[in-house]
Amino acid sequence: MQTVNIVLSGLGGQGILFMTKVLAQAALNKGLKTMGAETHGMAQRGGSVISHLRLGEVEGSLVRTGSAHFLLALEENEAYRNIPFLAKGGRLYANASPKSFARQEVKPYLDKMEIVYRAVPAEKIAAGLGTPMSSNLALLGFFSAFEKDLVTHKELRNAIDQVTPSRFKKINFKVFDAGFEMGTQ
């Protein structure tokens, strides 16, 4: 299989590490080799946080600019900040308002690079279910509605099941499924 490069971005505390863990577990379940890179330490206190995940036969954990197939962003500005990672034809998923995403200034570039971008109000979905800090799961659910070739909704759901502590399972599934619904509409 060809290498798949994924970049996940957001702010410290938004659950980027958890999102990375779920995707990596899902890939492992499919028998794929995975290599990831995470941010720990000072930036976790609300600064810009970024995770890299690479599927396939790779040595290094970092994605090079211009070579990511997917960018998942939990915050709008962090989505823009990390656009340089995307390769031509890459896909961008952001927690943002579908009406206003993406900013006018970046659209010509995204179009030129044939980058598909989709926004979902992940935080609103999560807040609506009483757990505003779970926007990461809503975004993952939304993502799974479009990227079946990479990982299906069911495969991701199983991975969430594996890495979630039992007391959070019910709510995590609820938010994840709500994000998925939003994507299938």
């Binding site: 990596a24 990831g36 890179a37 790779v58 970092l62 900040r81 505003p132």
Partner: protein, 619 residues
């Protein structure tokens, strides 16, 4: 019964250490090393091992303890971050001469970037300075193998061995297959030999000779260590350019060359930068006209290469001398070398137009900040209120973020809040200037390096206020227990050390405890402390600002939830946003006033005490 599991790089190190039969593992937390010991604990619990683990009070303490275990014939490991090795340097330099009986592996994690450290220093240089071997893994899988190799080398040659994974190894995730772990049953024994273990300078000279002999033997071993030192030269072929790389830069360049299908550029991978496998490097060099060296963070291998005419790297200006060698940097620097040498360059650029585009957007930079509900925020607010003109010396931990609140003026190294406070005091006092000084230090940092400085300050009659920010945890590095808590690394109960008694034991006569959530009480206490510091019979005043970390202990930290709101009395003065900077407070353009982001608000209620217009009220 092998199973596949995704390991954090630090977990891979932990696994390797236990597979090698480590019976004692000590550590002091620090990014990027902090997860090693918790991973060791997780594995010994799941595998039922009897490995002794401890969070030591600092890195020197950790290394001395592990060294003693190795002297007793056991296998021991000691884990820290690269600047922690500075603290342990005294121990390391001497241990290299004395040697071991069992095995001793020192894991020192580097932080090129730096992401979470005060310097980008390179542990490989410390290894060279101490004259101990160092292994430099390129990914978690190799880190695990090297942990085992390091232990075996250490025991065979009776020398401490350093493993230095860089942050991209420590915080990488990779699937590894592993099986049941066994206890190492080696028993402790100590044969008295004061000539060695308490060697005087004359015998140290002999020990130095022994050490040099060991290094020669190890260097020979490294020449043939094909699992970690290897190249892809074709016999007899000559190349215009070759690359010598180690650690993370090796994995980066390997991926790029594979992706670009560049078999015309051979790579020599070095996993053992010291002692350097010189003959292997000579073979490689003689097949290449030029050789580019890729290594993090400092210049180490580049100096070891003898044919200077051929070498490209930091000294020739081809490789940046600071910062991380991330893939896009390696890509463009190698591309430039290819162009300079008239070779075929890579296709495509590093997405420069996208980088320019993003730069033009002027995106707000999200600086890290103290969490919503963090007790340190309340402390800094009170300190600035009570002593606005003071010099604020501070230290290393979450509370360094007091920078954003104007409550931190200096941060040098662990413990320097206190030592710099006394240094400032004497410098101003010499000129008869009564400069107010308030030092802030966390509980864990105080236990790590605070007492020697405090003893010194008391003994030499310095005058300042020391606020110990006691949140009962080592928070920044991921919530490790402190001696004050009395919970040990494996979760068992230890003896809790009383900060009050330690401070009093350092000779301080003014020690008071306050809950910083009560800003009024803390401000009042700071005023009282000021009087004490300034009175002729006074001295150093220590205030222990005690309130649990809101992340580690959400329930205990906020016992009474207060729902807050901002009224129309808000004049948009921004005082709260600048001086208090709770992430849950923001300026609402539409409403034309400050507002609360309820998904971030922890309902701590501290902000009820801060608005000068009284606009923040209980809902």
């Amino acid at each position: 019964m092998m199973r596949e599991e995704i390991f954090l790089g630090n977990g891979a190190v932990a696994l390797g250490l236990l597979e090698s039969g480590s019976q004692v593992v000590t550590s002091y937390p620090g990014t990027p090393s902090s997860e090693i010991l918790p991973e060791v604990v997780r594995l010994i619990k799941s595998e039922g091992l009897n490995t002794y683990v401890e969070w030591s009070t600092n890195e020197k303490v950790a290394l001395d303890n592990a060294f003693a275990a190795a002297v007793s014939g056991k296998r021991a490991a000691c884990c820290m971050k690269q600047v922690g090795l500075n603290v342990a340097a005294d121990s390391l330099m001497s241990a290299a001469y004395l040697g071991t009986v069992g095995g001793l592996v020192i894991v020192s994690c580097d932080d090129p970037g730096p992401h979470s450290s005060q310097t980008e220093q390179d542990t490989r240089l410390m290894a060279r300075l101490a004259k101990v071997p160092v292994l430099d893994p390129s990914n978690p899988k190799e880190a695990r193998e090297m942990a085992r190799l390091a232990m075996e080398l250490s025991e065979e040659f009776r020398i401490p061995v350093i493993l230095r994974p860089a942050i991209r190894v420590c915080h990488a995730r990779q699937a590894l297959s592993w099986g049941p772990l066994k206890n190492n049953t080696k028993k402790a024994s100590f044969e008295k030999d004061p000539g060695r273990w308490a060697a005087t300078p004359r015998f140290r000279f002999i020990l130095h000779g022994e050490l040099n002999e060991k290094l020669k033997k190890i260097a020979r071993r490294f020449e043939g260590l094909t699992a970690h030192n290897f190249h892809d030269l074709e016999p007899g072929k000559k190349y215009p350019l070759g690359i010598i790389a180690g650690g993370v830069p090796y994995s980066v360049i390997r991926d790029i060359l594979l992706e670009k299908d560049r078999k015309d550029i051979p790579v020599l991978k070095i996993g053992t930068p010291y002692p350097f496998p010189e003959a292997l490097a000579d073979t490689f060099m003689s097949a290449c006209e030029k050789v580019l060296v890729l290594e993090e963070t400092d210049t180490v291998m580049e100096y070891f290469l003898r044919d200077r005419q051929k070498v490209l790297g930091r000294l020739s200006g081809h490789v940046p001398s600071e910062g991380e060698l991330v893939p896009q940097i390696v890509y463009s620097l190698v591309d430039k070398v290819l162009k300079d040498l008239g070779l075929i360059p890579f296709k495509g650029d590093g997405n420069q137009d996208a980088l320019d585009l993003v730069a033009s957007l002027d995106l707000p930079v999200r600086r890290p900040t103290l969490c919503a509900g963090c007790p340190h925020r309340a402390s800094f607010f009170a300190i600035r209120k009570a002593r606005p003109k003071a010099i604020f010396t501070s230290d290393i931990g979450c509370y360094t973020l007091g920078l954003n609140l104007g409550g931190v003026d200096t941060c040098l190294d662990m413990g320097a809040a206190i030592t710099m406070a006394s240094g400032f005091y004497h410098s101003f006092d010499q000129d008869q200037v009564a400069q107010p000084i308030v030092a802030t230090i966390g509980d864990s940092t105080f236990f790590h390096s605070g007492t020697a400085g405090l003893l010194n300050a008391v003994y030499n009659d310095a005058r300042f206020i020391l606020v110990i920010l006691d949140n009962e945890i080592t928070a920044m590095t991921g919530m490790q227990p402190t001696p004050g808590l009395g919970i040990r690394a494996d979760g068992s109960k230890g003896k809790a050390i009383s900060l009050e008694r330690v401070v009093a034991g350092c000779g301080v006569d003014f020690v008071e405890v306050v809950d910083p959530y009560d800003i009024k009480a803390m401000t009042k206490l700071l005023k009282k402390a000021t009087e004490y510091v300034n009175s002729s019979t006074g001295g150093i005043a220590v205030i222990i600002a005690r309130h649990p970390c809101v992340i580690a202990y959400p329930k205990e930290a906020i016992t009474e939830r207060k729902s807050v709101m901002v009224t129309d009395d808000c004049t948009e003065c921004s005082f709260c946003l600048e001086r208090f900077e709770c992430p849950a407070l923001y300026h609402d353009e539409e409403l034309g006033r400050t507002n609360i982001n309820h998904s971030l608000c922890t309902q701590c209620g501290v902000c009820l005490q801060i608005c000068p217009k009284g606009a923040i009220v209980e809902a």
